[in-house]
Symmetry: C2
């Protein structure tokens, strides 16, 4: 049982809410980090606040970094529509370098907090095919973190990027979180959620989520628009 | 001679101004990226604008990301003084994970621009000992970039982090830039520059810079406060 600090990247979606619950169950003192990056689905950030409150985190920090200045994704550029059908290859909802950027910010905060462990709700089973959700990406970031920082150079610790969901199906994630008491009605996964947090039901993220609840045989609490 | 696009991280200091001049001399179409991270020495950003204008960049983007929310450095926390004497070990002017964060943002923009090359003015000779200026850090980031991105997975290119100053002394950097026409009076290196861009003359960065001009036998155009 850990009694250490951990930084948990918290988007407000189903996966990161589960990762937070796992970190808490393992005994970590959790510091949740959300990024207000100009995402189309801003309801996600409201969800992150609800999840952080329900998860008894020590602190929930929201950093503002407007990635609309970079664009290149349906999530940060209003001129690119969120697809209503599965894509061939990596979909346009991919945000360039997003997890690299988010993990970098988590690393900076972890260093200030003297925390060595960073939780990321990445999953490489029921996912959208994003390259920065794969185990080889996570391992490469971990290696980088231990070269990049004063803490790693001057102290004896090593940073770890913990991805407890990596090899789980969406149904397994939902079962795990449900056992740990995660209230999934607080979370928002939809790429095109409206300001009330109501989900579209047709985007890639909605479909993966709905299928997960169905396969887990757990009632789906997601509020849909229609 | 390259005719490709490159993203150049431009702080407004002496090193990044030289890296930009080298990229231009190699024929790159340069896209300069500066980060307004709440740095104490905001005069740096004004310098970055001047350097970008003088360097004929295609575009100069300034992204706002307030790292004061993370703190942990004399450059982002007003409660930590900029030292007036050399430090033992890595000094308090180290900003947690700064180059990791900045390279991540450069990578995101490079991906959108279809640029494969990113210039970073890192130097491991006359420097403050920051871990994220070392060659092994740069190589690790390059490896990460080629796992993290859709461009690297779906296309045949590879991202490169180019650090032409890495093995140069400060005097060599200044001689190189001077030959390429860099106007160093436009740049600000001081960690404690005032709002007019006047340098303190005593911080680590000022001392390295002054010694560089002296050793290069080039007249130092730095405006000092006293």
């Amino acid at each position: 049982m850990a009694t250490e600090k951990a930084v948990v990247l918290l988007s407000g979606g189903l996966d990161s809410a589960t990762a937070l619950a796992i970190a808490r169950a393992e005994g970590y003192h959790c510091y949740a980090l959300s990024i207000d990056y100009g995402q189309r689905h801003n309801a996600e950030l409201q969800a992150a606040k609800r999840v952080a409150d329900a998860g008894n985190v020590v602190e929930h920090k929201v950093l503002r970094l407007d990635l609309r200045g970079i664009g290149g994704s349906a999530l940060t550029d209003q001129d690119i529509d969120v697809p209503r059908h599965p894509a061939i290859g990596i979909p346009v909802t991919y945000v360039p370098a997003r997890n690299t950027i988010f993990l970098s910010l988590a690393l900076g905060w972890a260093e200030v907090l003297c925390a060595w462990d960073i939780f990321l709700g990445a999953n490489a089973v029921d996912y959208s095919g994003y390259p920065d959700c794969r185990p080889e990406f996570v391992r490469a970031f971990e290696q980088l973190a231990n070269l990049a920082t004063r803490a790693a150079v001057e102290q004896r610790g090593r940073f770890r990027i913990l991805t407890p969901l990596m090899q789980m199906s969406k149904a397994e994630i939902i079962r795990t979180g449900s056992k740990l008491g995660v209230d999934y009605s607080l979370t928002v996964s939809c790429y095109a959620a409206d300001e009330r947090g109501l989900a579209c039901g047709v985007c890639d993220s909605c479909r993966l989520r709905a299928r997960g609840f169905h396969e887990a045989e757990i009632s789906d609490p997601t509020p849909y628009r229609c």
